[in-house]
């Protein structure tokens, strides 16, 4: 009979459990519907030279990383040293997508903080960003040899994330 009085307590604990899990989840981590889908095609002028174009088509056969960034984005500046470090390791080419930025500002940032990118595409009106489902820069995509998005990270990259998730994934994708 005593167990009956424990029922409300158990229900309460279950409720608290649900709330605790809910509160500790980051609402900005929205699962991307683009994972395991073909990376959307685009053709954009490059940041350094507006006469030259870049299209993800040209990266077929390579495992590469697409990093969406902007000079106005504070989190991107935080992330930048990590990218520079990653660029030095030369594990995979990093392509930048300079999202809704001013050319001069972006170039200044790269020359002062280092340029980890093989090249950056210049997305002036943010349309390519929309096609990639970008809603908060920085965002990072890992794209395989067939041009399929295998991984997406929203927010600044960290060395831990690179070592634990991205580097193993890159080497695995390179082998396949």
């Amino acid at each position: 009979m005593k167990a009956k009085f424990l029922i409300p307590l158990i229900l309460f604990v279950v409720l608290i459990g649900f709330l605790a899990v809910g509160l500790n989840r980051d609402p900005h981590e929205v699962p991307s519907p683009l994972i395991n889908k073909l990376a959307p095609a685009f053709n954009l002028p490059q940041l350094a030279d507006s006469q030259k174009m870049f299209s993800p088509q040209s990266m077929r056969g390579q495992v590469w990383v697409l990093n969406v960034w902007a000079s106005w984005c504070v989190a991107c500046r935080e992330e930048h040293p990590v990218l520079v470090e990653m660029g030095k390791l030369q594990i995979a080419p990093i392509i930048g997508l300079d999202y809704k930025d001013q050319r001069d500002d972006a170039l200044t940032m790269l020359s002062s903080q280092g340029n980890p990118y093989l090249l950056s595409a210049f997305d002036a009106d943010g349309r390519v960003g929309i096609n990639y489902g970008v809603y908060g820069v920085p965002e990072t995509y890992v794209i395989d040899k067939e041009g399929i998005i295998r991984f997406k990270h929203i927010g600044p990259l960290t060395m831990d994330l690179l070592n634990q998730r991205i580097f193993p994934l890159l080497s695995q994708l390179k082998k396949s």
Binding site: P27, H28, V30, P31, S32, P33, L34, K100, D125, G126, R127, I130, N131, Y132, G133, Y135, G136
Partner: protein, 158 residues
């Protein structure tokens, strides 16, 4: 007085500052009100991803502006509401929709409340049945019956 003036001037600076920050160009409206009405109907049903507690129609974030621009373009291209919703879902997932679609992964979400309701009703029925059985069905004695009659008469005379 001095404090008051200080606060007043601080307030003016603040008000002025925020005024400047908000004085942006108005987002371009579509030429025809029909497009604009459709845009509002569609985007009110969508979540702004930057400020997640606002609808796409109500948000003033840059991304929301851009997305409204995209939706306007799609409307002008003659796309149906369904196609426009698909455009958004393909990019941002079901999360953009305020009304999640009914599919295996959302069955619990849609049917869960009814399940809990059924459980509640079942529990209530069981409880009532048990309580009915617990109530004593002992017959009253003649004395008690007489007393009831008296009490009832008394109340009708009043």
């Amino acid at each position: 007085m001095k404090h008051f003036l200080l606060m007043l001037s601080a307030f003016c600076i603040f008000a002025n500052g925020s005024g400047v920050a908000q004085a942006k160009d108005a987002a371009p409206l579509a030429d025809d009100p029909v497009t604009e009405q459709r845009l509002i109907t569609i985007s009110e049903e969508m979540r702004c991803l930057v400020c997640q507690n606002e609808s796409l129609a109500g948000s003033r974030s840059d991304l929301a502006n851009d997305l409204r621009r995209e939706i306007r373009t799609l409307i002008k291209e003659g796309k149906s509401d369904e196609q426009i919703r698909n455009f958004m879902v393909e990019r941002y997932g079901d999360f953009v929709l305020y009304r999640p679609p009914v599919k295996p992964i959302t069955w619990l979400l849609w049917l869960g409340p009814f399940l809990i309701l059924l459980l509640g009703i079942a529990g209530l029925l069981i409880y009532l049945k048990r309580r009915n059985q617990a109530v004593s069905t002992e017959a009253l004695s003649d004395d008690q019956n007489r007393r009831i009659d008296e009490l009832l008469k008394e109340s009708t005379h009043d």
